[in-house]
């Protein structure tokens, strides 16, 4: 790749980051007015959160069970299988819960947000709002953004709980670890700092994924192909950004 092409890609990325940031500031500016109509926000929490519950619970259960199996296998080598509860809980609360929930949210709710707003643009619904002197960023975008920001930490909590239950199913029920050991070690080792770390991560991921989804939807080309491409970009960019932010936040918390 030539230096000019590399420079062009870097400039495009920078331009896009700038555009998303400016749009994010505009959305943040409309969040307070949007909060004055809580019904709209609650509806979006329901759409983005409650409707993602089944997939989050299923994935949480399987991830917890896999953690249980792999953790038991690894810890058994050192004769520390009783620490499985701690390992599973910390892994889920600090890392896997926030990251996987954000990735699942981007795939399930982010695509839905993006395509819904994109289609509203393609069918002139956003333009009609503008013509009715209603700011679509306040009426459509901000409530959806807030809905995502609120929903992701709640979904993460559900994911973590079900995941820990999944690991206990494997560890306690299948591998015969003493339940008292499993739960008491977890209770002793996991403190509020760990929970806060997970909470902050999930808030940041929720904001990033929701912002990308509404940005791509709002700026999608008003055609079927344009909305499709925007939806794909939402998933890809959200996944990459989530993992990048995870590294940054993990490094910051250490």
């Amino acid at each position: 790749m030539s230096a000019a092409a590399r420079r062009s890609i870097a400039l495009d990325a920078l331009r896009k980051a700038g555009a998303v940031t400016l749009f994010g500031l505009r959305v943040l500016g409309q969040c307070v007015p949007a909060l004055s109509r809580p019904r709209l926000v609650v509806l979006q929490v329901y759409n983005a959160g409650a409707r993602s519950l089944v997939i989050i619970m299923l994935c949480g259960l399987f991830v917890g069970m896999v953690l249980g199996l792999q953790g038991f296998n690894l810890l058994q080598r050192f004769g520390s299988e009783s620490a499985l509860g701690v390992a599973a809980a910390l892994g889920l609360i600090k890392e896997l819960g926030p990251v996987l929930t954000a990735l699942l949210f981007a795939g399930r709710a982010g695509t839905s947000l993006c395509s819904e707003i994109g289609l509203m643009g393609a069918t002139d619904q956003l333009a009609a709002m503008e013509m009715m002197a209603v700011d679509p960023v306040r009426r459509v975008v901000a409530p959806r953004f807030l809905g995502g920001v609120i929903a992701v930490p709640l979904l993460t909590a559900v994911f973590n709980s079900i995941g820990i239950y999944g690991s206990s199913l494997v560890g306690v029920t299948m591998m015969r670890i003493q339940p008292g050991t499993f739960w008491s070690q977890m209770q002793n080792a996991v403190d509020l700092h760990d929970v806060n770390e997970g909470l902050i991560k999930s808030l940041v991921f929720g904001a990033a994924c929701s912002l990308l989804a509404v940005y791509e939807g709002y700026h999608a080309e008003p055609t079927a192909e344009g909305v499709g491409l925007a939806t794909t970009r939402t998933v890809v960019t959200s996944a990459v950004l989530t993992l990048l932010l995870d590294y940054v936040l993990t490094a910051a918390f250490l």
């Binding site: 069918t123 002139d124 009609a128 503008e130 013509m131 009426r139």
Partner: protein, 288 residues
């Protein structure tokens, strides 16, 4: 006050002469607008007289919808002025522009109904956004507007359950729910069956005559618009090719006007998009 049902349009004074500046609610002065290197307008001047129905006609792609977007302040002219209700649209900030838009109703080509709301909620939408009304009063207002367009019985339907003509009528009810002073119709007849078209024509006329709403209708349906417009502009190649009452336009001698009014497939507006020589292109080897 609600408009009368279609078929009971009261007569009105003649408004078919050229609009003067003092009468104009919309005054577009020497507007130039280009998208990239393609010039859409090269000095267009049009006016919409208070209380009249003004038609903007022209072949597809002449920028009729762009003109409406300029009037509504959605896009800005590169040269010239757009004055609406005495205010220069280009100079208005967002809040002022939104205040101005509250005095205007707009009917989109496809209705642009909000698909996640019922017909009732669609019509109630602008009221809920801008005015605090007790729910019973709001309900009465919405039902009155739906009655005016003949769709009170469809209040509980969703937009997906409506035909194209019904969607257009619901959008019209929504456009008039705040009693605007100016109503803008973007291609209101496109894709409608003759009955729905007749209903929309009658509604435009009755809203204009019973409520005194100034109307701008963008259309290329010569017959329908000719029947109700007080004054018409014909746009072609970025300029106003002709203007006058529908009768005057029919009598105009310019070739482009004659072609448009008679619907000839070829003329100053060519049937073929610019292309290389037909036979040469057929005979040349395809590029790999």
């Amino acid at each position: 006050m609600t408009p009368q049902a279609p078929g009971t349009v009261p007569p009105r004074a003649d408004t078919g002469s050229a609009p003067a500046v003092a009468d104009a609610i919309v005054d577009v002065q020497d507007v130039h607008f280009a998208i990239g290197s393609r010039a859409i307008f090269r000095g267009v001047s049009v006016r919409a007289r208070r209380g009249a129905i003004t038609a903007m006609m022209g072949p597809s792609g002449t920028g009729k919808t762009t003109l409406l977007r300029l009037i509504m302040g959605q896009i800005r002219a590169q040269r010239g002025r757009v004055i609406v209700f005495g205010e220069e649209v280009e100079r208005l900030d967002r809040d002022a522009l939104y205040r101005l838009r509250q005095r205007v109703g707009m009917l989109f080509q496809n209705g642009a109904l909000l698909t996640d709301m019922s017909v009732f909620e669609n019509v109630a939408f602008p009221v809920r956004e801008h005015v605090r009304l007790p729910e019973p009063v709001l309900r009465e207002l919405v039902l009155m507007k739906l009655q005016a367009v003949g769709l009170r019985g469809a209040a509980d339907l969703m937009p997906a359950e409506l035909s194209g003509g019904m969607a257009r009528r619901v959008a019209l009810a929504r456009a008039i729910v705040l009693d605007p002073e100016l109503l803008i119709y973007d291609e209101p007849f496109v894709g409608l069956d003759p009955i729905s078209m007749g209903v929309i024509v009658r509604l435009i006329q009755s809203l204009n005559r019973t409520l005194g709403i100034t109307s701008i209708v963008v259309s290329h349906d010569v017959h329908e618009i000719g029947a109700i417009a007080d004054y018409s502009y014909l746009l072609s190649e970025g300029l106003v090719a002709a203007q006058g009452s529908p009768a005057e336009l029919k009598e105009a001698h310019q070739e482009v006007v004659q072609q448009f009014m008679s619907g000839s497939p070829d003329g100053p507006v060519p049937f073929h998009y610019p292309a290389p020589d037909y036979y040469e292109q057929l005979l040349e080897r395809p590029r790999r």
